[in-house]
């Protein structure tokens, strides 16, 4: 057991670190899975409405203009926000080798955050949306999302300043950066859009600066931090090139922020603002390639572990899709590419490729790795894990391929003035059905994970399982001890 004295002269072991995080992280991750279910259901309703417009057509709360923003916002803040926060807290505690500070406050913050998302979603369903994409929640709901995040920022820095490990691991760079970037993003974007600091085109620029960066400077760094920890940790092999990992972080920090305006290609903006977005997107090849080399080269010689490790399956899937979706995204920013794919289903395919192919699997990987260590319990069913994995991979691939192919064809047809618009609409309908099917597959995987998650937080399940995710004898002895306590 590696354990060292902290600043208060207290010995903090790895198991103690995990235990200090148990309830805090479980609350955030359980919320994440519930919001993922809500987001998927809202997405399904939106999807069905596109090929069957009459579906739930007489309920005003569920019209496309309301349910679609709820889908996106519950996915970004409900699932993404809580999954990333739980990941940030556990990973930082582990890497700093310190206990999570003020757990009660963090749990209370998690509850308030959830209430904020719930009220914000209800507001949007009632028709109180702001109309600003990704910031649709009514303004009165936003403090409930921002204030709890302040607790997370403080906890993150407190852990970092109390750290035992002198070295700042690459994942910590990403986690620290997220806590600095995200509040700046949200508050600045709210000020420029919903608070009306700027109008017209400038507001659209602020909107898409935020919309792009909430993915790139919040979800992406958390996902990369998870991959940099999980892949080496699971296979027991250090990162292929630590030099490159640091280059990747700093180039990501410098370039990503500039890319957002490529979303407005073709819009009534000064050409240079879009060119900046395109250049920023092209420069993203530097961090993407360095991160890709690191993740994939670390795995060389260890791919056989994919057969036996659930964490590794999700982590490698996430890191591979990160490379692919980032290449796709960078190329998508080019004007010549946008001439075809802008305002088509291609963009939707790309967004889901990134969020459900890269970010979500890495959050799942984190949960699969950490939950047995946090709770002292084991995942109850290997079969459910396999179902979850194959549904995630299959559903995501089906969705992305269908949407991207349909989008390209749709774009080519829209560029041809001889093709009637109704023909283009009719052409997309089978692919929209495929999208609904893909959504159902993803939902099935989420339900399988929910069952497993629900069971792992049940202490009595301990006696019926075999703790294989815990590979050390100390973990096993601890489980036996707990099992005896429970049976008495």
């Amino acid at each position: 057991m590696s354990a060292t004295s902290d600043s208060r002269g207290e010995v903090v072991s790895r198991i103690e670190v995990d235990r200090s995080a148990e309830w805090v992280v479980t609350v955030y991750w359980a919320s994440a899975l519930l919001w993922l279910t809500v987001a998927t259901l809202a997405g399904l309703i939106s999807s069905i409405k596109l090929h069957s417009p009459g579906f739930l057509g007489n309920i005003e709360w569920l019209t496309f203009g309301r349910i679609r923003p709820v889908h996106w916002d519950t996915a970004v803040y409900g699932f993404g926000g809580t999954a990333a926060s739980g990941t940030l807290l556990w990973l930082q505690a582990r890497l700093c080798q310190t206990r999570i500070p003020f757990p009660t406050l963090l749990i209370a913050g998690g509850v308030v955050f959830n209430v904020g998302i719930l009220l914000g979603s209800i507001g949007v369903l009632m028709g109180k949306s702001t109309g600003v994409e990704t910031l649709e929640f009514p303004l009165w709901a936003m403090p409930l999302l921002v204030i709890p995040y302040v607790f997370i920022v403080i906890a993150n820095f407190k852990m970092y300043f109390n750290r035992r490990n002198a070295h700042t691991y690459v994942s910590q760079w990403y986690l620290m950066a997220v806590t600095i970037w995200f509040p700046v993003l949200v508050l600045s974007a709210e000020a420029c859009t919903n608070l009306g600091a700027v109008d017209g085109v400038a507001q659209a620029i602020a909107n898409w600066w935020y919309g792009h960066n909430v993915v790139g400077l919040f979800a992406t760094p958390t996902g990369i931090a998870a991959a940099y920890y999980l892949i080496p940790k699971v296979i027991g092999k250090p990162v292929h090139s630590y030099h490159l990992s640091l280059l990747g972080f700093w180039s990501n920090a410098i370039f990503y922020n500039w890319a957002g305006t490529h979303h407005l290609t073709g819009g009534p903006l000064p050409a240079w603002t879009i060119t900046i977005g395109v250049v920023g997107s092209m420069m993203m090849f530097i961090p993407v390639i360095t991160i890709g080399i690191n993740h994939h080269m670390t795995m060389v010689g260890s791919f056989h572990h994919l057969k036996t490790s659930p964490t590794l399956r999700f982590a490698v899937m996430g890191s591979m899709v990160y490379t692919l979706s980032s290449f796709q995204g960078a190329l998508e920013s080019l004007r010549s590419h946008q001439e075809i794919t802008h305002f088509t289903h291609y963009t939707i395919g790309h967004v889901h490729f990134g969020m459900y192919g890269f970010f979500a699997p890495l959050m799942f990987a984190m949960m699969y790795y950490a939950m047995p260590r946090l709770t002292g319990n084991e995942w109850i069913s290997a079969r459910l894990i396999r179902i979850h994995f194959w549904c995630t991979l299959g559903g995501m691939l089906l969705y992305t391929l269908a949407m991207c192919y349909a989008g390209i064809r749709q774009g080519l047809m829209m560029n041809d003035p001889t093709v009637p618009f109704l023909n283009i609409v009719k052409f997309t309908i089978p692919y929209l059905w495929i999208r609904t099917a893909a959504g159902l597959i993803l939902l099935a995987g989420t339900v399988a994970f929910l069952i497993n998650f629900w069971r792992i937080v049940q202490p009595h399940r301990l006696r019926f399982v075999t703790p294989t995710l815990m590979t050390t004898e100390r973990d096993y002895d601890m489980l036996l001890k707990k099992e005896k306590e429970l049976s008495q």
Partner: protein, 70 residues
Amino acid sequence: MFFVFVFIWTFAMIAGITMVWLLGWAIKNGEFQNLRAGARSIFDEEEPEGRVTDYFPGEGPLMRQLEARR
């Protein structure tokens, strides 16, 4: 609106300066030296380099060994 602009610019400046300061601090603090050791900092005696630490439930080699002993 003037105050909103002041707020945004102040916030952006703080964030930007913090990142530059962090880079300077990291260089000064030796964070970019001895990177080989840095890459290994996630391993410890209990989860050491060279050991696979994750398996499907019921399918890990150590588990089978321990179950047999039990």
